[in-house]
Symmetry: C2
Subunit: 430 residues, 2 copies
């Protein structure tokens, strides 16, 4: 994989020019086997790379991401390209008239947008196998899923094509594909990265996030996007709570081993580590599908009514149960979410909560159940609580034999910057 700090070092030293880097990325993406590419913006990318190469030659830099190729989930507007959302409904969409603000920020920082990446249809699924262009394929085993919905954004990093991609996360969609593909993902709090110009899944939870090879790469990228400074905790010990209880128990025991290995490594770094209960988490998590379903249905109702057959069948099956659901169910779920998400953090006696990202590792494409466990909830139920709580989370891989395994570090009292530093130290220790 491409480390962003290493790539920037090469671009800054002149060892690699923006043109060489972008040409290499485009060539890799053209022969990609993971189905991560929706559309390349090759001409514009090469033209911008040439401008940046000329700047480099004069000893200048356009910004902190000078010359770095980036890929954008095809749920996010890139000026001049259609936003297809993985759906046949938008196969003929007009090109976006403007960059989404997060894309504009990346360009302003010197990054080169090379194209649009695979998404689970309308971001409504944590598996990455449902899209107009077919399933995304996991670089670690092309017969397995990437996780979703930022499927292409994770696969492109894991395959070594790109050092940085942009995804979105409503309940899982940055972290689950990061975990299944063995890369790092950042889900900020809502609004920390601007959400305009992004096709909505559910406005209560939608966030924009980043994926990269590791936490150190995410830290560089986030800082380049005006990320918050560290809290001033001064690098001192953070109380690590290891999420325990039925809710957090993975179906795949290797994921339990990964959490234990991370806990041991964090303890080895001098952080106090203790088991942590999360009372009410199951009741809280139960509000997620109700809220998302109602909001997604409101968005899709017109299309669903008139063009249902253009949805992928799995997407249609997810939307249909929410058709004309009563408002009181949604209002009640919102109230329960407000009550429970206010109550739960007060019961946490830690600065950072450590837990598995998913309950299963990458499953075979097409499988709906693995070892008796249902696939979809296994990819969502350990991530969505942090959208409900609106906590920042860094999801990082832990080395294990075989398919990748990922853990989450959720900021209970600390923010993105501290989490990224902690995750970086953890990676070094592991």
């Amino acid at each position: 994989m491409l480390s962003l700090p290493a790539l920037l070092q090469a671009l800054t030293s002149g060892e690699l020019s923006p043109t060489e880097h972008v040409d290499d990325v485009l060539a890799r993406l053209e022969r990609d086997e993971t189905n991560c590419v929706i559309e390349l913006d090759a001409e514009r990318a090469r033209s911008r790379a040439a401008e940046l190469t000329a700047l480099s030659a004069r000893g200048e830099r356009a910004g902190p991401l000078h010359g770095v190729a980036v890929g954008i989930k095809d749920l996010i507007d890139v000026e001049g390209l259609p936003t297809r959302c993985g759906s046949r409904l938008l196969a003929g969409a007009a090109p976006a008239g403007a960059d989404a603000p997060v894309v504009a920020m990346l360009r302003a920082a010197g990054a080169v947008v090379v194209g649009k990446l695979h998404t689970h249809e309308f971001a409504y699924g944590p598996v990455g196998d449902v899209a107009a262009t077919g399933p995304a394929r996991n670089p670690h085993d092309l017969s397995r899923v990437t996780g979703g919905s930022s499927s292409g954004s994770a696969a492109a990093v894991a395959a070594g094509h790109l050092a940085l991609t942009v995804g979105t996360d409503t309940g899982a969609s940055v972290r689950t594909p990061a975990a299944l593909c063995g890369v790092a993902g950042l889900k900020p709090r809502r609004g920390a990265l601007p959400g305009a110009g992004v096709f909505p899944l559910a406005e209560s939870f939608d966030t924009v996030g980043l994926l990269a090879a590791d936490a150190a790469s995410l830290a560089v990228a986030r800082a380049a996007l005006g990320g918050p400074a560290r809290s001033g905790a001064g690098g001192g010990p953070l109380r690590i709570g290891v999420a325990r209880g039925d809710w957090w128990r993975p179906h795949d025991p290797v994921l339990g081993d990964a959490v234990d290995a991370a806990a041991a490594a964090l303890a080895g770094l001098g952080h106090p580590v203790a088991d942590q209960g999360t009372p009410g988490v199951a009741e809280l998590a139960a509000t997620y599908p109700v809220i998302v379903g109602a909001e997604a249905w409101a968005t899709h109702r017109e299309w669903f009514t008139t063009r249902r057959d253009e949805y992928q069948p799995a997407t249609a099956d997810r939307l249909a149960p929410h058709a004309d659901g009563p408002a009181h169910t949604y209002v009640d779920a919102r109230r329960a979410r407000a009550r429970l998400s206010a109550a739960l953090p007060a019961q946490l006696d830690c600065d950072v909560l450590l837990c598995p990202t998913t309950r299963l590792r990458a499953t075979p494409i097409g499988a709906t159940e693995v070892a008796g466990a249902p696939v979809r909830p296994s990819m969502l139920e350990t991530t969505s609580p942090f959208n409900l709580l609106d906590l920042p989370v860094v999801a990082v891989p832990v080395p294990v034999p075989g398919l990748p395994a990922g853990i989450q570090l959720a900021g209970v009292t600390v923010g993105e910057a501290d989490l990224l530093e902690l995750a970086g130290a953890l990676a070094n220790r592991l």
Copy 2:
């Protein structure tokens, strides 16, 4: 009416003791003709007044409202008294176990809670004529309504019983009764006064507010409750926008005269005054009944299903259309509200928006239409936009012949404290 600054002067100078004041208030409330009283807490009030009188005798004060009798809308918890919400459903409610925070804040400031005041049933109406205990009656004409839903809170001030009362305002409920009864009302932004311990009407809009004889009284009360200081605009000129267009045209021409008189007075005070359009206000206001209806239905669904006949017929008729309304209608209304309430303020070229509080003055009890205009919307549609926009508003009377007429000063760029100062200067000028 009782001016709060004058009352405090009398209490502070010793001219009037807390006991004398509270005895007088209780005597007035016992012989009240407006039906504003739900329940008196006479024994406790007298006991507290005696404590405060003893403090006064030692030259001490319990707080900035030392000895001031206050009345609480019966939608708000007062420890030891049931919260009946104007409904037969709660006629046998257990006494509240604790004061709502706003009540506790008043007590901490030295105020004496004398009892609970009339509310439109469950606060779901701007007229004040629907309650288990019958309609509240306007002190200016006992055959006419008070406006609602803080009906008793306005009537008690207008009748001269109390210098300060607490109400709530979801779409009209402090300002409309203030206007119809000829008193002053403050609707802060959401959360500026704590909303806990208050029976909800609609969580998207519920606020706690204050009613008093005039803006000067409100300013003293708000400061005693930890109100914000002035913005530092330094008492300089504020751009006054006079809301124009069909939406703001009263059915009663005297209310148009009141707005013009207020505009002229504000100009006379040196504030630049100009007509102000409010594009999109009708579309924005149309979202209000949808959002409130869905949230109110979610609250009342269980009771409505099992105990419908205990609601007043008018309340049942308002709830029934929202039974099992679809979630997408509510979600769509929330989205429209978010979009329009973000867009409208950007089109306002003023610091303060001036408009009528209602489109009709106090109507006869039982009337649903007056001079061809429907009563209920006439009491709501010019107030609810400021709940949708979440702007602070001060509603004050303007002297006119006959029944009272009220205008609103809504803070577009300024907050409560500046509005109260402006309203006080306006009252002096008028």
